[in-house]
Symmetry: C2
Subunit: 243 residues, 2 copies
DNA sequence: TCAAAAGTGTTCCATTTACACCCATGC
DNA sequence: GCATGGGTGTAAATGGAACACTTTTGA
């Protein structure tokens, strides 16, 4: 038991960000190349330390998102994944990191000249397949983020944030297929997704894709939690994103 | 962007524990009466600061569980709920807390003379009903822990850890009813729970409860994840535990 | 023999799945 | 026309809810 005048040891608090997007129907994560030791030159999740001792933790995550990825922080929903606090996870000392999950529609890599200069979108399958190694315990954080994203697709309207302002049902389906890493029956997906009231609402217009019948365009509806949920087939937990 | 020689602000890291148990088929949470300011005299979740800067965060949670509740830490599974880091959550300064969820079978309140002297099991419905106020943001942490426990019951064999070494199916059902806050059809529960292979295994013996047909005794099986899951009725999210 | 608790069988209904089929467009 | 992708209909399989019914005990 601590003494009366005992003071707890201070730690350094960092935030790390798992940012997913879809590029050509393939799930990508945002990585940055580290410019300083430790792990200088290696790839890592974007993130950083608290700015000052009055900064909210989720605010720090938003700030890093802005600084390192140049993504407008206010728009994106950040969800906490958890704290990572193994004593030896950072060779510099005792660093506890709070990880957040963010989802963004497909965007170009932002401008050089900022912290984001070394930011790159990397296919998730490359990371999970071992072709790309991440610094610290960031691979575990990314795996946890992927599982969280997969689960969120079932119960929330998260998938629409992968898409643009308007989208076809098929585009929405490709989001589910890319994140879940499986293929879905497009005809059943059609009805399932439209049976969820206020999940997606028809915009009236259509989109011509060159050949075939034009697809109706939809926009995200007001609903954020899905009733009934769009459940993925049980046991179909693929380690990698859709090829 | 921080300067080269800039150093991040240190924070104090704490752990808080949401510990649930069942006493007479009512869900209880372990609370401690605070002996020091702030919130001196108020009830709070058990927890405390990191002991030293080499201590693992989950190890600190185990240690506090031992110190404050006298519960054998090694036996219990701790699951991280997340980090709570609002700047003003602790008037003493910048304290970020990592919360953990633990489940214990019904146990008496441990011995006086330790940190655990002021530990009490409190019905969860009293806390959620506003009859009991908690210090800091501990009510929110407890609510998050309850929702996590409810969800875990669906997909994991967690419910058996609420019971003793052996139990009847009816006792197991009471766990689900107490945590979910709803009533279940005992006849359907029977088959559902036995349809999950290796979830519970019959021990051969029976238990006589005074009147009525003796119930078969079971013990927890090797399976930790439930296939198929025991889903709770959709929309049946009661705010309080079973009365 | 009756009450009470354990355990079984069966029916009904909602959801899921698989797939046949029709619609609208470019070439 | 015909290939291509968009969208609808429908029947079989599945799984859960409801509940009648049987079994085993104590009193």
């Amino acid at each position: 038991m601590p003494e009366e005048d005992w003071t707890p040891p201070p730690v350094l608090l960092a935030v790390d960000l798992v940012i997913f997007t879809l590029r050509e129907s393939v799930l990508h994560a945002l990585l940055v190349e580290r410019g300083v030791d430790p792990f200088c030159g290696a790839l890592a999740l974007p993130g950083g330390f608290l700015d000052n001792d009055r900064e909210d933790v989720v605010a720090a995550a938003h700030r890093e998102l802005q600084e390192e990825a140049n993504l407008d922080a206010a728009q994106l929903h950040l969800e906490q994944l958890g704290a990572y606090g193994a004593p030896d996870r950072d060779p510099r000392g005792r660093v506890v990191s709070v990880a957040y999950l963010a989802i963004a529609p497909g965007l170009p890599v932002p401008i050089a000249g900022t912290d984001a200069a070394r930011a790159t979108w990397t296919p998730v399958s490359d990371i999970l397949g071992g072709h790309v190694r991440l610094a610290f315990d960031h691979e575990q954080i990314l795996i946890d983020g992927l599982e969280r994203a997969r689960s969120k697709l079932e119960h929330s309207a998260l998938a629409t944030t992968f898409c643009g302002k308007t989208f076809t049902i098929n585009e929405l389906q490709q989001v589910y297929e890319a994140v879940w890493g499986i293929e879905l029956d497009l005809r059943n997906f059609y009805r399932k997704v439209q049976a969820v009231s206020d999940f997606i609402v028809p915009i009236g217009a259509e989109r011509r894709a060159g050949k075939g019948r034009p697809a109706r365009l939809f926009k995200a509806g007001p609903r954020t939690t899905l009733h009934p949920p769009l459940t993925r087939p049980t046991g179909a937990t693929t380690a990698e994103g859709k090829q």
